[in-house]
Structures are given as structure tokens and as C-alpha cells.
Subunit: 372 residues, 2 copies
């Protein structure tokens, strides 16, 4: 297992620009990772992801374990080869899904018994099983198997959960991965900064090549998350990547970057695309609205993506209204392009030590409500 | 209206190679036209169609009339601009759809009253209305509004229908289209060659820039269609494009080309793609089959399309099984690429006067049942 994969290159305030090195290529941070749950970013060819310069994508342990099965993917040469994606892949541990998607899950010291959301079949996911699956998938970045407690929860419940997550983290670390794989740990503890700090310190003692924040953006107020991130993130190890899991909206990501986070993933740009929402410089644009019916403008006139430079609002609205697949495909491409440009521009601003100006300008435009 | 848009360049037996000239570019025949019913070839970006060298696509008058409406498309600059497709477009007349899709249609001398398949709203489609819609769409090739009688039908019924189609053809011709548009007429008459000949002669007297065969591949035996095409097609005007509407499977198209047909369209390669069927040199390949579960080969190892040069059977099968959009997208691209290559190769063989060899080789491979 690799120990040091991150180089910090520049800081602007707490915002960081760096590089993560993997065997499948370098990742320039801060970065957004498109979510390819079942070995596909919905509606995108791998060529599309390359065209938008996606540097790393996510795969999902829970979903790939159930279908087509990690052993099949292993026999086919691993996830990179299976889906023909040569750049870095991060896999989550399946923890979040067994708690949120499957029924009748039962947590024990050993792991989580659950019933498949597809056919009700019974399975056990444990630290060792999650590592076995992720090892077979061959992802570049592997996440530890953690408990995701139901929120809201008392501090006592969160502590109990954190202790379990720490014991599971140790078991994950003791499991041998492939030489090219890096295991990231996950800091839990809700919004209790003392719990989070204790969790982090004990994980740092175990020494992981990367640290993630889990259990955020799951119901707490946005200001609470921002406040927590601003206070907590700078205390995280400087020489390791920092990953804020499952977050979020464009401004959440900028807030994360400002606090010092390096990596993000979220289904929002892809899921909302399929509901007709373009994310643009001037805020979300809902293509279903009547006012776009005969609007010949590009979805986002300031955007240089292949969708905005070719197709019009009136056309995409028509496609969406009649249920053509192309609507979701075009909006998904644009939204991912938009996210990737946002973090790329943020990186450039950090390197020039002008992140605060970038942040303010982006915030002003994005909240202008031009498309409301 | 243009009168002469076709140049015959070579013949091999009855098979023809030619060029159709339109304001949006030349079409080298024989050609297959991907179907973009609602201003989108399902799951394809217009860039995809360009990448596979589609020379002309179809739009559908009935569907575009209902949604988003031809007047809206007209105000947006016509169908080419609306959907951002600069190459030729052919629109059908809506006749086939009002007879097959909508409920409670009532045929009068004036036209067809029908109820929308979407919301049950009542409309009238007539020769003039069909021309009004297609004029607004601005397609390069416009089809006359014909009656499509329910089959099987008696000869008397077919004659009555043919007479109505002829009167409607005259009304379509008398309607003024845009200067760049060419109006093709449709020869009806079932499998009665005398009826078909009479219909053709009376249409030729009216002098159209192109002639289509309608009402084939709608239930008759395949050998009957082939036999009819071989006998009838050579009698069609030599100096005009010949279009076999809605046909068909790969071998149907080769049989059509052999009989002297120049243009084809069919939803089969796109619709079957969404059902998991790759059309390959060695016959159809159903990706759902268990035998492809761990098959690392390309869908069609002999194919040079971007799907077959990058993705595997095991991957596409997984995508199909879990319901990922990408499965349909990849198979659709391949199938259209396969059809376009088939007609391109046929054209090259005709120019070399080796069509018969090409036909036999294709037939032998395609019926080898390798993927059964």
C-alpha cells in the first residue's frame, strides 16, 4: 500500500492546490469525482468523461458486489479494464448503501447483515468483505468500511458508532490490498467537534494515506456544515488528501474548498440533470419552465461545453418534455463539465493566491437568481 | 421545388450507386437513414451521427406536429436549426402514424381526423396540412400524404385507397413548398403489381423528383416482398431516387439494393438496440444471453466502430442487465454504424461492379448463426 500520495502545491487562505499520484495517473486537486455507481456515469460514454477531463471517477462497492459481482469483475481484469477506464477510480466501501438502501440491516461487531434492495437476498458486509470486494475491483483509492449512524443521534450513540468505526478501520488496514491501492479512512462524529477530533487523532495514529469526512450534508443546516468545515478541516493532516464525501451543491463544494478540502463527489449534477436541471454560472436553470419554450439561447451562454456551444434551451426543453434520452445525456454532460470547470478554476485561483476573489465572484453570480 | 436531384453513377446488375443533391449536402446512395422521430435519434448526440457519417436522417411529421408543434419549430428557424443538424433531413408525411398510432381515425376525402396518442386531443391531417407542417419544418425531402390501408385488404379496397392517394398526391403537389424542398410521392397498391404499376404511371405523369414504395414489410412474407421488389423496382424511373419506406432488417436492405432501391429507413437498428440486440456481420447478437456473461470480446470483433474497439460483451451485458442508459446508447451507435457501413460497402461494390459477390459474402456471413 502506498503511504504518501499527496503533494501540497499552493495555499490561498485555507484552500489548497495539490496533486495526488496513483498508478493510473495524477489527480490535480481540488477535484470533483463524477459518480459511476454501477460502472457507468449515467448516460455518459467513457469518451464523454475523457472529453470533459474527468480525472477520477467513483465506483460503488455495494452495487458492484450485487451486480455483476466483484469476482466476475476480477476475472475480467478489474474494474478499470471491465469498464474501459484507464484513469483513477475511487470505490466507496458500501457502508453508506447498506445503511440507506437495503432493508432489515442488522449491525454487529462482525459487520452488517442486509437484504439486497434488488431481490431481497441476504448478505453480510464486513470490513474484511468490503476490502475483499474493493481489492478485487482494483480501485486506486479504497475507502474503509464505516458505520453510518442514523441521524439525528445522541452524542452517546455517535460515540458508540465512532468506536465501532475505529475498530473496523483497524480491521480494514490489517487486510492486505493490492500494491497500487491506497486506503482512505473516514472520520465520523456528527457535528461534535470533540468527537471528530478524537476520531481523527486515533485514525492518524493508524496512519492512512488519506482522510475523509463522512456523515455530513445529511440533514444538518448548511451553515452548521460550513461552520464545522471551517473550524475542523484545517486541523486535518496537511500532507494527506482530504475528502468530503457525498457533497454537494456548487456552493457547498466551494465552501469545502475554502475550508481546505481536496476531493468531492456527489450524484447531484447527474441526478438533477435527469430531472431537467442545468447548473450554471448564474444558478440552477430548470429547463421545464414555460419561459424556455421558445428560447433559442444556449442553456448557459457563458459555458464552453459542447452542449452549450451547439444546442438551445428550446431544443433541450422539447427533448425533456417528450422524454427523449438525449435530454438527460446533454444536461448530465453540461453539469459535470460545469463542476469540473468550477474546481479547475478554483485550483487556478488558489495557485495565484486569489481564491477569495474567485469565491466571491462565483458566489455573487451563482446567487443572482437569473434563471428563477 | 427542385426537379432533378439525382444522378445515377454506376450499376451492378440492378443495384444502383448515385448521388442525391440537396441544399444541405449530397447524399451518396444507396443510403440508410437513421430515424429521429421526435427530432432526436434516440440516445444519440448529433455529434454521434456525424461521427458515424450519417448523411441524412428522418423526422416525423405526426410527432413533431403534436410536440413541440411545427409552428414553434418554424419560429425557431426550422428543424435543421432547432435540432442543430446541418445535413439533409427527410420528413415523412404523418400518414403512417395517423393510421397506426392514433385512435378513432376517420378517413374522408378531405383527410384524416384522429385523436392524439398522447392526450386524446382531436386533429385533422390532410394533404394540405401535412404540406404546411413539412414546409414549416423545412426538411429537404418531403413525403406526400398517402392513405395506408389496413392489411390484408381486397384488391378493390386497395384500388379505392390508391385512387384516394393519387388525388391526395395531386393536392400535395399543388401546395407550394420552400424552394429547397423536394416532394417525393408514394406508390401504393399492396402486392398487386398491376395496381402498383398504374399508381406509379399516374404519379410519374405528375412528375415528382423521387418515388417511394409504401406499404411493404407490413405482414407479407419476406419472399413475397423480395419477389415483388425484384420485379417492380427496375421499372421505376431511372433518373429519380427510389425509396423503400420503413424497411428493414439487414438482409431486407441488401435485397432492396439488389433490386435497385436507393434509400431506406427503419427503426429496427435503434429499437432493437434498446432491447439488447447487436446487429453484426455474423447475424444478430443478443447481449442478454448467459454465454456473454464473462465474454471479454468486443460485441462484433470485426467491427471498427468506437463501441467495438473499446467495450466488451461482458461490460455491455452488465450495463443492460442493471438498466444503465449506456447499454442502449452503445448498442444503438454500433447498430447504426453497422447499417451505414453495410450500405457504404454495397455502394463501393456497385461502383466496382461486384455487387453480386458482396451480396453473397454478406449473406453467407450474416446467416452463419454464429451468435445463436
Amino acid at each position: 500500500m502506498k503511504d504518501s500520495i499527496y503533494t501540497l502545491e499552493a495555499q490561498s487562505g485555507e484552500a489548497r492546490a495539490g496533486t495526488i499520484v496513483t498508478e493510473h495517473g495524477e489527480i490535480q486537486t481540488p477535484i470533483f469525482m463524477p459518480v459511476g455507481t454501477r460502472a457507468s456515469v449515467k448516460g455518459m460514454w467513457q469518451e464523454d468523461l475523457e472529453r470533459m477531463n474527468a480525472q477520477i471517477i467513483l465506483g460503488n462497492t455495494y452495487h458492484l458486489f450485487l451486480r455483476p459481482g466483484h469476482e466476475l469483475i476480477d476475472r475480467m481484469g478489474g474494474l478499470h479494464k471491465f469498464m474501459s477506464w484507464d484513469k483513477p477510480i475511487l470505490t466507496d466501501s458500501g457502508g453508506f448503501q447498506v445503511f440507506s438502501l437495503s432493508d432489515l440491516n442488522k449491525v454487529t461487531e462482525e459487520g452488517v447483515e442486509f437484504q439486497s434492495h434488488i431481490d431481497g437476498s441476504r448478505h453480510m458486509l464486513s470490513p474484511e468483505k468490503s476490502m475483499e470486494i474493493q481489492k478485487a475491483l482494483g480501485s486506486d483509492i479504497v475507502m474503509i468500511f464505516d458505520e453510518c449512524p442514523k441521524l439525528p443521534a445522541t452524542k452517546e450513540t455517535l460515540r458508540t458508532s465512532m468506536e465501532l468505526t475505529l475498530r473496523w478501520a483497524k480491521r480494514c488496514k490489517d487486510y492486505g490490498l493490492q500494491p497500487h491501492q491506497s486506503l482512505f479512512s473516514i472520520i465520523q462524529g456528527g457535528l461534535y467537534e470533540d468527537l471528530r477530533e478524537e476520531c481523527m487523532e486515533r485514525l492518524v495514529e493508524m496512519d492512512f494515506p488519506g482522510y475523509a469526512l463522512g456523515g455530513l450534508s445529511v440533514g444538518e443546516k448548511n451553515e452548521q456544515m460550513v461552520s464545522f468545515l471551517n473550524s475542523f478541516t484545517p486541523k486535518m493532516p496537511q500532507n494527506k488528501p482530504r475528502y468530503l464525501m457525498g457533497v454537494g451543491k456548487p456552493l457547498d463544494i466551494l465552501n469545502g474548498i475554502r475550508a481546505g478540502i481536496d476531493m468531492f463527489d456527489c450524484v447531484l449534477p447527474t441526478r438533477n440533470a435527469r430531472n431537467g436541471q442545468f447548473l450554471t454560472k448564474h444558478g440552477p436553470l430548470n429547463i421545464k419552465k414555460e419561459r424556455f419554450k421558445e428560447d433559442p439561447l444556449p442553456p448557459d451562454p457563458s459555458c464552453e461545453c459542447p452542449v452549450c456551444t451547439r444546442y438551445s434551451r428550446t431544443y433541450v426543453r422539447h427533448l425533456f418534455n417528450v422524454g427523449e434520452y438525449l435530454a438527460g445525456q446533454l444536461i448530465t454532460f453540461h453539469n459535470l463539465f460545469f463542476y469540473l470547470k468550477m474546481v479547475k478554476d478554483a485550483r487556478a485561483a488558489i495557485i495565484e493566491d486569489k481564491f477569495d476573489e474567485y469565491y466571491k465572484e462565483f458566489y455573487k453570480n451563482y446567487t443572482s437568481d437569473m434563471h428563477k
